[in-house]
C-alpha cells in the first residue's frame, strides 16, 4: 500500500512504480526519524518492520528529491497535465452496476453479498509499545 501511495503521488513525474524501486539512486543520504516512520506507518497502514524497509524508503525519498533539481523559475505551475482539456460531462443515466458477483470475486472473504473486512476499529500499536528495531 505504501508503494502504491508513493506511486500515486509521483507517477506523473516519475512514470510509474517500476521507476521508483529500480531507478532509485544510491544517493540515499536522507535520514528519517523514528517519529516520522511511525507517522508514515499510521498514515499508510504499513509496517516498515526492518532496517531494509527504512533504507528503501530513504532511497525513495532521495529519488523524489531529485525533482527539486529541476529549474522551474518563471514556469507557471499547472493544476494538472490535463488542465487545458475539457472536463467531459456525462448525462445522468444508469449504465453500470448490477454486477455484484463479478465485483465480489476480488474479495478474500464474502458474507452473502457483502465484502468482509477486519473489524474496523483497531489502531496501530503506540510507538513505545512497539518492538523497535534499531534505527539510526
Amino acid at each position: 500500500m505504501w508503494a502504491r501511495a508513493v506511486w500515486l503521488a509521483f507517477r506523473a513525474p516519475a512514470g510509474g512504480r517500476r521507476g521508483l524501486t529500480a531507478k532509485a539512486g544510491p544517493q540515499g543520504s536522507v535520514r528519517i526519524t523514528a517519529e516520522m516512520i511511525e507517522h508514515l506507518e499510521r498514515l499508510a497502514l504499513v509496517d516498515f518492520g526492518s532496517q531494509e524497509a527504512v533504507a528503501r524508503l530513504e532511497k525513495a525519498i532521495a529519488f523524489a528529491d531529485r525533482l527539486g533539481a529541476v529549474d522551474t523559475d518563471g514556469v507557471e505551475p499547472m493544476e494538472s497535465v490535463l488542465e487545458d482539456r475539457c472536463l467531459y460531462l456525462r448525462s445522468d443515466n444508469v449504465i453500470e452496476g448490477n454486477c455484484a458477483e463479478e465485483v465480489l470475486q476480488n474479495s478474500h472473504r464474502v458474507v452473502e453479498e457483502y465484502f468482509v473486512a477486519p473489524p474496523g476499529n483497531i489502531s496501530l500499536p503506540k510507538l513505545d509499545e512497539q518492538e523497535r528495531f534499531s534505527h539510526s
Binding site: 498514515l43 467531459y88 473489524p119
Partner: protein, 572 residues
C-alpha cells in the same frame, strides 16, 4: 468529507492485521459514557440542570457559544457522481457498484452533469458566488468502505463560495414570534460519498456494502454564526426545505441523505473564541439541537471547573444523551490532499462567456440555471402571509410538515371559508390529530375535500363549531363518509327553529331564577352561564350568538335589547 474524521478513529485495512498486537480499540459506536472518560468533574455534567448559554445564572460570567456546521447532502440523481451506477436507497448489497466504485485498476472518473447542475442550483439558492473554474482533489484516508483509499472532493477551489441563508427562529413567551437570522455559507463542494460498514462484533468482522460509495454529495459549510442548538437545528431545517424545494437532494435524515457535523466552542463575549470541538453523528433532526446544547453546556461546566477544552472530535450518544470523545488526541490527521490527476478543472459559463460553437451537452450555463430556479421556501411563506393575511409563524408551520402546504392549498381551493379559519383548522385540528397519531400528511384519513366541505357547512352556519369538531373526529375514524352524511346521521345540524330555541331559552330562564337575577343586577358573566345551559339543552346544536340574542331580548326591559349588550362578545 463523508465523515473521514469519523473513520480516522478507526483506521484499518487488511494490512493492519500484521501489526495489531494489544492495540486499543476505538469503536464508532463505542460509547464509553460521559462519566467514564471524565477527569475534572465531567461526571457532574449529566446531572446538572441544563442552562442555556445565553442565560447564565446570576453572579456568573456570561458565556457565549459559537456553532458552525458542515452539512452533507446526498444529491438526488439517477446515477453516481463519477460512475453510471444507480443511486438508490436500500438496494441489495453491492448491487449498485460499478468497477470504478469498487476502485478496480484502470477505471477512471466521468463527471455526472446532473450533480454539477445540482451544486450550481444549490449555490445560487444560497446566494453563493459560483466559481467559473473549480478543481477536484484527492483526500486520503484508510477505511474499508473507501476502496480507493481516497475521496475525490473539492478542497482548493470549490464550486460555490461566499453565500448566505436566512432562517427564522421562534421567540417570545409563546414562541409565536419569528425573527430572521442570517448564517453565512462559506462554501459548497462536490464530493463522493463512501460505502457503508456493518460491524459484526460477535464474529469480529466488518461487512462492506459499496452501494453508497461514489454517490454525489454536496458539502455545505455554514460559518460559525449560530449560538445554540435550536438555531443550528432551525438552520439545518431551512437548508433541508431549500434542498427539497430545489429537488437537488431529498434531504431525508432518516435515510442518511442529510448528515450534520457541528463545530462548537464557548467564550466570554468580547474575548477571543474558545477552543472548539467537533461533534459528529448528528444525523437525527430530533437530537441535533439537544446534542449541540449538551456540548455547549459541557464546555461551560468544564471551563468553570477549571478544566480545559481539547480540540477533539466527539460523537453524540443518543442513548446516553451526551457527547463522548471519539479518538485519542495525539493523532493529528494528515489527509495528504493532492490534485486529482484524472479530472481537469471544471469550467462553468454564463450567458456572456458561453462559447458559441460549444456542444450544449458539454457546457453548463449558470444564468440559465438561475432563470430556472423554483420558488424558495422563504418566498412561499412571504406569499402566504400576503395572500391570506396569515401570521408569519403560521406560514412557517405550514411549510414545516411535508405535504401540509399542499393540503392547505387544496382545502382553500374548495371552500368558501375564510383563509384564517382554514389556517386555524389545518394547523390546530388537522395537524393536532396527525401528531397525536404520528401520521404523515399523506397518511391522513381526512382528505382536503372533506375538510373543505366541513368548513363550508361551518361557514354557512349549518353546524356549530363544536359540532364541526365532532364531525371532524368522525371523519377521522370512518373513512369514506362525507361531512354532510355524518351531520345528518348524528343529527348535528344547527337548530334553526327560532321558536323552539326561544322556548328552550324560556325554560332555562324559568329553571334558573337566581342566574337571571344576577344578569339583571348587571353581572356580565351570568349571561354566559345561561347561554351554556341553553346550549347544553340543545345538545350543542345551537349557535351561541343566536342564543345570546334571544336571551338578551328576553332579559332586557321591554322588547328592545340594548345595543351595548348586543355588541359584547361571548365566550361560551
Amino acid at each position: 468529507m463523508a465523515g473521514p474524521m469519523l473513520r480516522w478513529c478507526c483506521p484499518v485495512g487488511r494490512w493492519a492485521l500484521a501489526c495489531i498486537d494489544g492495540g486499543s480499540r476505538y469503536g464508532r459506536g463505542a460509547a464509553t459514557g460521559c462519566t467514564s472518560s471524565g477527569k475534572r468533574g465531567q461526571s457532574s455534567v449529566a446531572q446538572q440542570p441544563r442552562i442555556t448559554a445565553q442565560k447564565p445564572r446570576k453572579g456568573e460570567h456570561e458565556w457565549a457559544a459559537v456553532v458552525g456546521l458542515e452539512i452533507h447532502a446526498q444529491i438526488s440523481s439517477n446515477s453516481k457522481l463519477f460512475s453510471g451506477s444507480q443511486v438508490h436507497f436500500a438496494a441489495p448489497p453491492n448491487s449498485l457498484v460499478s468497477f470504478f466504485d469498487a476502485s478496480l485498476p484502470g477505471t477512471l472518473p466521468v463527471l455526472n452533469r446532473r450533480c454539477v447542475e445540482a451544486a450550481v442550483m444549490t449555490g445560487l439558492a444560497l446566494n453563493c458566488r459560483i466559481n467559473k473554474k473549480s478543481l477536484f482533489d484527492r483526500k486520503h484516508y484508510f477505511y474499508a468502505d473507501l476502496p480507493a483509499g481516497y475521496q475525490i472532493t473539492q478542497q482548493r477551489l470549490p464550486i460555490a463560495v461566499n453565500g448566505s441563508m436566512v432562517y427564522g427562529v421562534c421567540v417570545g413567551k409563546k414562541r409565536s414570534q419569528v425573527i430572521n437570522k442570517t448564517v453565512r455559507v462559506k462554501q459548497i463542494q462536490l464530493e463522493q460519498d463512501s460505502g457503508k460498514s456493518l460491524h459484526d462484533d460477535l464474529r469480529s468482522q466488518t461487512l462492506i456494502d459499496l452501494n453508497r460509495a461514489g454517490v454525489g454529495l454536496l458539502e455545505v459549510v455554514l460559518e460559525p454564526d449560530m449560538s445554540c442548538g435550536e438555531e443550528a437545528a432551525t438552520a439545518v431545517r431551512e437548508l433541508q426545505l431549500i434542498l427539497q424545494a430545489l429537488g437537488t437532494s431529498r434531504a431525508n435524515m432518516a435515510e442518511g441523505q442529510l448528515r450534520v457535523d457541528a463545530n462548537i466552542s464557548v467564550h466570554h463575549p468580547g474575548e477571543p473564541l474558545g477552543i472548539r470541538t467537533e461533534v459528529k453523528n448528528l444525523n437525527s433532526a430530533r437530537f441535533l439541537a439537544k446534542a449541540i446544547d449538551y456540548e455547549i453546556q459541557r464546555q461551560i461546566n468544564e471551563l468553570e471547573n477549571g478544566g480545559e477544552i481539547l480540540n477533539e472530535t466527539r460523537s453524540f450518544d443518543y442513548k446516553l444523551g451526551c457527547t463522548v470523545p471519539m479518538r485519542d488526541k495525539e493523532g493529528k490527521q494528515d489527509y495528504r490532499f493532492m490534485p486529482e490527476p484524472n479530472l481537469p478543472p471544471l469550467l462553468l459559463y454564463d450567458a456572456e462567456s458561453l462559447p458559441t460553437a460549444a456542444d450544449p451537452q458539454q457546457v453548463i450555463n449558470i444564468d440559465q440555471i438561475r432563470e430556472q430556479l423554483p420558488e424558495l421556501p422563504s418566498v412561499t411563506r412571504e406569499k402566504l402571509v400576503q395572500r391570506y393575511g396569515m401570521l408569519p409563524e403560521h406560514s412557517f408551520a405550514l411549510l414545516n410538515e411535508v405535504g401540509l402546504l399542499e393540503f392547505f392549498q387544496n382545502v382553500i381551493k374548495e371552500t368558501r371559508a375564510e383563509p384564517k379559519k382554514v389556517t386555524s383548522w389545518v394547523l390546530n385540528t388537522f395537524l393536532g390529530f396527525l401528531k397525536q397519531q404520528n401520521l404523515a400528511v399523506s397518511e391522513s384519513p381526512v382528505t382536503p375535500s372533506a375538510l373543505a366541505e366541513l368548513l363550508n357547512l361551518l361557514d354557512r352556519k349549518a353546524i356549530s363549531s363544536s359540532a364541526a369538531k365532532q364531525v371532524f373526529e368522525e371523519l377521522w375514524r370512518s373513512k369514506g363518509k362525507t361531512p354532510a352524511q355524518i351531520v345528518s346521521e348524528k343529527k348535528l345540524e344547527l337548530m334553526q327553529d327560532q321558536e323552539a330555541l326561544e322556548q328552550l331559552c324560556h325554560a332555562v330562564m324559568e329553571g334558573h331564577p337566581q342566574v337571571v337575577t344576577d344578569v339583571k343586577k348587571g353581572n356580565p358573566r351570568a349571561i354566559n352561564k345561561l347561554i351554556g345551559l341553553v346550549r347544553k339543552a340543545t345538545l350543542s346544536r345551537a349557535d351561541p350568538t343566536v342564543i345570546k340574542e334571544i336571551l338578551e331580548k328576553k332579559l332586557s326591559p321591554g322588547d328592545v335589547s340594548g345595543p351595548s349588550a348586543r355588541g359584547r362578545t361571548v365566550q361560551p
